[in-house]
């Protein structure tokens, strides 16, 4: 399949936040950013769960924060986990990833319109995600300064 179930979004904090982060630098900044990104994904994850068609997808929706392939980057994503699981769908046995994709993007052949439960959540909660990231990063930075 050309794409994975997870929808990855680049969320950048404000300029001021980035300046403060530069001053802290090193491993502490990475820790702060990881925790901020994790907080930023929460509104998107919650909205995706609200949008999700069916209990199984709601249950399988997860978030993850990892090191990116490019050095110095951190990647956060909201995705449908356990996608290798085999399920019966319209009389056919398929991987759950397939079902999750059909529901996200729609399928004319299967008579299903796009539910866009992931991308819709990303679009409607992008601003809330940035605010949550900034809030978390500021809290963690204050704590970091206090330690010094």
């Amino acid at each position: 399949m050309a794409q994975s179930v997870g929808i990855t979004s680049k969320l950048l904090g404000g300029k001021e936040l980035m300046r403060k982060m530069d001053r802290i630098g090193g491993k502490s900044a990475v820790k702060i950013m990881r925790s901020a990104l994790s907080a930023g994904l929460m509104p998107i994850l919650k909205q995706a769960r609200k949008n999700a068609p069916g209990k199984t997808i709601k249950k399988l929706l997860k978030k993850s924060v990892k090191k990116g392939k490019k050095r110095g980057t951190i990647v956060g994503k909201v995705y449908v986990g356990d996608s290798a699981r085999r399920v019966k769908f319209q009389g056919e046995e398929v991987g759950f990833e397939f079902v999750a994709n059909v529901l996200e993007f729609g399928s004319q052949k299967r008579g299903i319109s796009a539910h866009k439960y992931l991308r819709g959540a990303r679009e409607s909660k992008a601003q809330a995600a940035i605010s949550a990231m900034e809030k978390k990063a500021n809290e963690r930075m204050k704590a970091e300064w206090a330690k010094r």
Binding site: M1, A2, Q3, E92, F98, N101, V102, F105, G106, S107, Q108, K109, R110, G111, I112, S113, A114, K116, R119, G120, R122, E123, S124, A126, Q127
Partner: protein, 138 residues
């Protein structure tokens, strides 16, 4: 005075007016196409969006994201229509679509989703999805 045209309708009109699409008889549907729809056809869906800018001023803008799915029974025909649509709607400056001021229209991604349209080993239509981001004046 007529009702203000929505950006979704303006985008549909813009796509249907692309020469290569019109000459191939491309029809654009919202949500899902009728089962008897003939190739080529397209389905337009709104993914989401939000408003920003000065709420009281002229520069009160909105950002909207759309999913356009193109269906064709022929790879080459698909490529011609897809490229023509992308080049016609791509706008980096201020343009006007059906009286709506569009500040930018960019292609966020293009994906081949043919696999979602096949059952078992059966080969059917070719499907490509284009994600479109539009910033326009409300």
């Amino acid at each position: 005075m007529g009702e203000t045209m929505s950006i979704k309708k303006a985008l549909k009109t813009k796509i249907e007016s692309v020469t290569q699409a019109a000459s191939a008889g491309l029809k654009v549907y919202y949500g899902i196409a009728p089962q008897q729809a003939g190739y080529p056809y397209a389905i337009l869906n709104r993914i989401g969006g939000y408003a920003f800018g000065d709420q009281g001023g002229d520069e009160c803008a909105s950002r909207e994201v759309f999913q356009l799915d193109l269906y064709h029974d022929d790879d080459e025909g698909m490529e011609i229509i897809r490229n023509a649509i992308i080049s016609a709607i791509n706008a980096q400056g201020r343009v006007t679509w059906s009286s709506i001021v569009v500040h930018s229209c960019t292609i966020d991604s293009v994906q081949d989703l043919t696999e979602l349209e096949t059952e078992g080993n059966e080969e059917g239509a070719v499907r490509q999805m284009i994600e479109i981001v539009i910033v326009y004046n409300r």
